[in-house]
Structure formats: structure tokens, C-alpha cells
């Protein structure tokens, strides 16, 4: 049994990542935190609107969007190359800005399409929202798989890579440079921008988001277009999912849309505090997950999710309002106050 659990080397697991190997693990932590924070913040609204699984759906159904974008960008580069007489076999260009942009747009459109399809199915038929989500994302995902396998020679993309991107490689990604100064790996920069914008949008449009989530009727009556807010949120969700995706894979994204918000709502009933606690959860699960991954020498994203779930369980046990422990204590207190013995014996005696 003992050989199944790796030794707990304090120095290597807890100290080294923050000292000697900081140049590697620092970026991994930062990337993990940024993904968890962006997803956690947006996820709060999904939970409140009872659309937690829409995030899951979007992260699966961007696949066909990515595939089509890839094909389009490919065709475009080929034409350009043919026009300029460049032999792509000799000079494999193309993984430049145009590809990044095409993929981003493809995923964004796929994300919005997913939301639209879900909405149309469940408002225009008797199929409920959960079933509509199931239909939509499985169909689009399958469509993506078909596309990729048909055009396997043209699309440098496989479903596995999209779903299980590896956060551990973030520090060896090309760095974003300003002049000669190497700032940070470009996925970190991109995710940082997205996370920062997410926070900004949530602060700026706090009241619009709050009222349209709580009472869309009231929001509409105040001139806040609840439908527009809904689609804007979904668009932004697609942006978050896509930017996180390539670097960390879908597992972390899907889990972190729900876990921070769910954990925070265990601990407080004030929405601003829920938002702050979900950020805290994001930070804690990325730190704990990182150490767990080093210790077990395993998937970092997976460990971050496991750590996040662990924090959720702890919150569940100790939550002041819904916690297992406080509830048990309260019940024990109550049973002491009641003269339980007498009632019990009387009934037994009568029967």
C-alpha cells in the first residue's frame, strides 16, 4: 500500500515551487488562478440563473467552431501562400495571428450558437431546458468530431487535445515580449486580460446583471434588456471558455464554473461576498492543486479541480447555515432541551 502513495517530500513539494523552481510553477499557479477566477466569477451568474450546465455545453460545442475556423484559416493561408508563391511544406507559416483570431471567432460563434439553440429548443417546444442542453451540446460535439475526422489531414486538432489541454506546459509556451523584455507566457497574458475584463465587467454592470438574474420582468420594466444581458453573458462565457481551453483543457473550465460559486454560496448569503469568496476559492484551489499535482506527479488541472472540490466539502461541513457539523450540533442541542425520554416511554407503555 505504501508504495502506492508517493513520499511527502516537504522541500520538493512545498518549498521548491515557490523558490528554486518558481520560474516554472509560478506561471502554472498564475495561469490556474486566472482561469479559476474568470470562470468562478462568471459561474456565479450561471448558478443563480440555473444554467450551470450551459457552461459545460459551451465548452463542448466549441469543437465544431474550432474545426471550421481551422479549415477556413487553412484555406485562406493556402490561397495566400499560392498567391505569393510560398511552398508551405518548406515554410510552414500560418500559426500566426490569423489562426489565433480565426479560432477565437469560430469558438465565439459556436458558443453563441449553442446558447441560441438551447433557447430555441426549450422555448419553442415542450422540451425542458436540461434536455435542450443535452441535445445541443452532444450534437455539436459529435459534429465537431465528424468534421475533424473527415478533414483529419487538414485540421491539426484532435478532440483529446481540446478537452485535456495541459496547464503544466504553460511556462514553456512562447513568451510575450515588449521590446526585448520577456513579460510572461502569452497564454498567461491572454488569460490575465480576460480575467481582468471579467472582473471589470462584473463591477461595472453589477446592478444590471443582478436585477436581470433575479427578476427579468422587473429588469425589462426598467429598460434593462434582460434578453440582451443573457446573450451578452453567454458571449462572454464563450470568450472565457475559449481562452482558458487551449492552455488548460475543458476539465478545469467546466469544474471551475461551478465549484467557486457553489462553495461561496455555502458560506454567505450576500452576493458581493459570494463574488469575493469565489475569488478566494480560485486562489486556494490553484495553490493546493499545484502542490497536490507535484506530490502525486499528476495532471495539474485535475488536481486543481480535486482541491477545489475538497474545499467545497470542507465548506459544506462547516457552513454556518447549511453545514453538516453546525446542523448536527443544533440537533443535539435541541434534543437535550426536549424531555425526550418521557414521550418515548409513554407511547411504548400504551402499545
Amino acid at each position: 500500500m505504501s508504495e502506492m502513495i508517493p513520499a511527502l517530500d516537504w522541500q520538493a513539494i512545498f518549498v521548491a515551487p515557490w523558490t528554486t523552481e518558481f520560474s516554472i510553477y509560478g506561471w502554472i499557479f498564475l495561469m490556474g488562478f486566472l482561469v479559476c477566477a474568470a470562470c468562478g466569477l462568471a459561474g456565479n451568474y450561471l448558478i443563480l440563473r440555473r444554467m450551470a450546465l450551459v457552461g459545460d455545453a459551451i465548452s463542448h460545442s466549441v469543437l465544431p467552431g474550432l474545426a471550421i475556423a481551422f479549415l477556413a484559416a487553412n484555406a485562406w493561408t493556402n490561397r495566400q501562400a499560392a498567391g505569393e508563391g510560398i511552398d508551405l511544406a518548406v515554410e510552414p507559416s500560418g500559426h500566426g495571428i490569423s489562426y489565433g483570431f480565426a479560432i477565437f471567432m469560430g469558438a465565439l460563434i459556436a458558443g453563441v450558437l449553442t446558447t441560441l439553440m438551447i433557447e430555441i429548443i426549450h422555448t419553442r417546444t415542450r422540451i425542458k431546458q436540461d434536455a435542450a442542453i443535452g441535445i445541443t451540446f452532444s450534437t455539436l460535439f459529435a459534429f465537431g468530431v465528424v468534421l475533424i475526422s473527415v478533414y483529419a489531414d487538414k485540421v491539426d486538432l484532435d478532440a483529446d487535445c481540446v478537452l485535456h489541454g495541459e496547464i503544466a506546459f504553460v511556462s514553456i509556451q512562447p513568451f510575450f515580449t515588449i521590446g526585448t523584455y520577456q513579460l510572461a507566457p502569452s497564454p498567461v497574458i491572454r488569460m490575465g486580460l480576460v480575467a481582468f475584463l471579467t472582473l471589470g465587467l462584473m463591477v461595472v454592470f453589477y446592478k444590471e446583471l443582478l436585477v436581470s438574474s433575479f427578476d427579468p420582468g422587473l429588469a425589462s420594466s426598467m429598460g434593462i434588456n434582460a434578453t440582451f444581458v443573457h446573450y451578452a453573458l453567454m458571449c462572454w462565457l464563450s470568450v472565457i471558455v475559449v481562452s482558458a481551453f487551449e492552455a488548460v483543457g475543458a476539465i478545469l473550465v467546466i469544474a471551475m464554473l461551478i465549484l467557486p460559486g457553489a462553495t461561496a454560496s455555502m458560506l454567505t448569503t450576500r452576493f458581493p461576498i459570494v463574488l469575493m469568496l469565489s475569488l478566494l476559492h480560485a486562489a486556494a484551489s490553484s495553490v493546493l492543486g499545484l502542490h497536490l499535482a507535484i506530490w502525486l506527479n499528476s495532471s495539474t488541472a485535475g488536481c486543481m479541480v480535486v482541491a477545489g472540490a475538497g474545499i467545497f466539502c470542507v465548506a459544506w461541513v462547516f457552513s454556518p447555515s447549511q453545514g453538516i457539523l453546525p446542523n448536527w450540533l443544533k440537533r443535539r442541542q435541541n434534543s437535550k432541551c426536549l424531555p425526550s425520554g418521557e414521550i418515548g416511554t409513554e407511547t411504548v407503555g400504551e402499545s
Binding site: 446592478k207 444590471e208 438574474s213 433575479f214 420582468g217 420594466s221 454567505t268 450576500r270 452576493f271
Partner: protein, 296 residues
């Protein structure tokens, strides 16, 4: 949006379908009085609500058909009719929350969607998720959002107004409570406080008395009378016939079509209520009872 347009096109191409559905609407043999009977001589911008030929359909089935209504200011008005008569639909259509198939709605002389800032709204209590992580105060402050612009936060003045509104419904001691920990009557009073905080001139309330105790009901009706005294116009969807007579100045009798609209004493008659409720025996006996009580 594209699909919505296609559906409308579809309707236009197949008018026979609508006509066929139209026949299913109860035929009510009254010659409707001119819509502007109670608003004659008023300037257009003084008429809180004017509806012309409003038709609303769900999935090709008309729910409201050809409603013509003009409401005078400073009245407490009940909207009554049987289940499925389109009472809530009428309010939602007026508020622009539903697509309409024909007709127009004006609020204080302007297109309804452009003048919603003058409207306060109390939705049905079940329409929101009461587990939402907000406090009573937060909900009442939402009533102020319409008055604030984009990007602006509720300030001290808004908080003072919200506190005053909570005080009015006697919910100030609960200001910091999470809304999940409230009873049905308390939830209804929070919604009322929120509507008060909107400081509107025209109010729509969807069954504010559903599931509240007698004490809350009478305190709510007291508040509504107070609002009316200040010249506000209030339309209330109401379910309980016996109390309707005592609560409201005017009544809208609705059963997919407008049966009648007028002062309560003129409209609350056995004959007109029978027209509204059709041949539903249990309700008819209730109506008879209510009318008898009024005579006595």
C-alpha cells in the same frame, strides 16, 4: 429573432388559422362602450394607460383579443376574470414583456416601451427564486435601479428612500435578512416596498394578495389606498370575488375579451359577472353570494 419574424410571416400567410382559433374565444354579447368613456376631456399625457385593439397569442392561440381600454388617473382598479382569462398576460403585454400580435399600448401618452420608467411592477411572488443571495434591503434597492443611469450605484439617497419604503410595509426590522428566510406575506411586502421605491405614477400588481394572511392583506390594501390618494393609478390582478367589490374603485372584467370596465358599483352585477365567468356553476354561486352581500 429571425425565427420570430418567420413565425409572424407564417401567421400572415395563414390568416385562416387565426380565424379558426378566434372562434374558440367565448362570444360575449355586449356592445362594448367607447373605450374613452372614463377619460373624456383628459389630455393624452394625463391618461395613465390607453390600450387599443390589443391581441396577444401564445403558439397561435389568442389569449387576449381586441382589448380596448383607457384608464383614468388616481384610481385603484381591479382586474378580475376566470383562470386563463389572460389577466397576467394583459399586464405583461402592457409592460412590453410579451410580443403582441396587434394593437398598441400607451402609457401617459407615449409608447409603452418608451415610458416604462413611470411604471412600477409587482410580479407574482413565485416568479422569482427566493434562495437568491440578496438581503431584503438589496431587493428594495433594485426598485431604484430604473432611476439610476448605467454604471451608477445606489447612493445614500436611494438607501434612505428604500428604508422609508420598508418602514411603510413594516419590514424595516428585516432589512438585513436573506430573502429565503421570509414568510409568504413578508415576501409580498418586500415586493410592495420595492414597487414603492420605484416612485412610479402607474402600478401593476399581479395577485399581491395570493397566499398572504388577512392582516397583511388589509395592510397592503391600506397602502394601496394611500398611493391612490397621492394620485397614483394602480391596476391589481385579483382572484377573490367577494373582496373585489370592497377593495377597488373600478373593475376590469376580463375573459380573453374585455367584458366591461367601469366603476365597481356599476360593473359588479350578477349579469356582468355571469358574462365574464360563463357557465361555471361553482363560481356563479360564489358570484351570487358576493352580489347578495353587496346588496345587504
Amino acid at each position: 429573432m429571425l425565427l420570430c419574424g418567420l413565425e409572424q410571416l407564417n401567421n400572415m400567410l395563414h390568416p385562416s388559422f387565426m380565424a379558426q382559433e378566434k372562434d374558440k374565444i367565448p362570444r360575449i354579447e355586449t356592445t362594448p362602450p367607447p373605450a374613452n368613456r372614463w377619460t373624456k376631456g383628459l389630455a393624452v399625457e394625463d391618461i395613465p394607460l390607453e390600450i387599443h385593439d390589443l391581441t396577444v397569442a401564445y403558439h397561435h392561440k389568442p389569449v387576449l383579443y381586441g382589448i380596448d381600454l383607457a384608464v383614468p388617473p388616481g384610481k385603484l382598479i381591479g382586474i378580475i376574470g376566470p383562470n386563463g382569462a389572460g389577466k397576467s398576460t394583459l399586464i405583461k403585454a402592457i409592460m412590453g414583456l410579451l410580443p403582441t400580435d396587434s394593437g398598441w399600448v400607451q402609457i401617459f401618452g407615449k409608447n409603452n416601451r418608451k415610458n416604462l420608467k413611470r411604471v412600477g411592477y409587482v410580479p407574482q411572488r413565485e416568479s422569482v427564486d427566493w434562495d437568491f443571495p440578496v438581503s431584503v434591503m438589496d431587493v428594495v434597492l433594485m426598485g431604484r435601479y430604473g432611476k439610476l443611469g448605467l454604471f451608477k450605484r445606489p447612493g445614500k439617497e436611494d438607501r434612505d428612500i428604500a428604508s422609508a419604503c420598508l418602514e411603510k410595509v413594516k419590514m424595516m426590522p428585516y432589512a438585513d435578512r436573506q430573502i429565503a428566510n421570509l414568510s409568504g406575506g413578508q415576501q409580498q411586502r418586500v415586493f410592495l416596498a420595492r414597487a414603492l421605491a420605484q416612485e412610479s405614477d402607474l402600478y401593476f400588481m399581479d395577485e399581491p394578495f395570493a397566499g398572504v394572511d388577512a392582516a397583511t392583506e388589509s395592510s397592503i390594501i391600506g397602502l394601496l389606498h394611500e398611493l391612490r390618494q397621492k394620485g397614483k393609478t394602480i391596476l391589481v390582478v385579483h382572484h377573490d370575488l367577494p373582496t373585489a367589490r370592497n377593495y377597488f374603485d373600478m373593475l376590469v372584467l376580463l375573459n380573453m375579451r374585455l367584458v366591461d370596465f367601469g366603476p365597481t358599483e356599476e360593473v359588479f352585477t350578477y349579469e356582468k359577472l355571469q358574462k365574464t365567468y360563463g357557465g361555471r356553476l361553482t363560481i356563479l354561486s360564489e358570484v351570487a353570494e358576493a352580489v347578495r352581500q353587496n346588496k345587504g
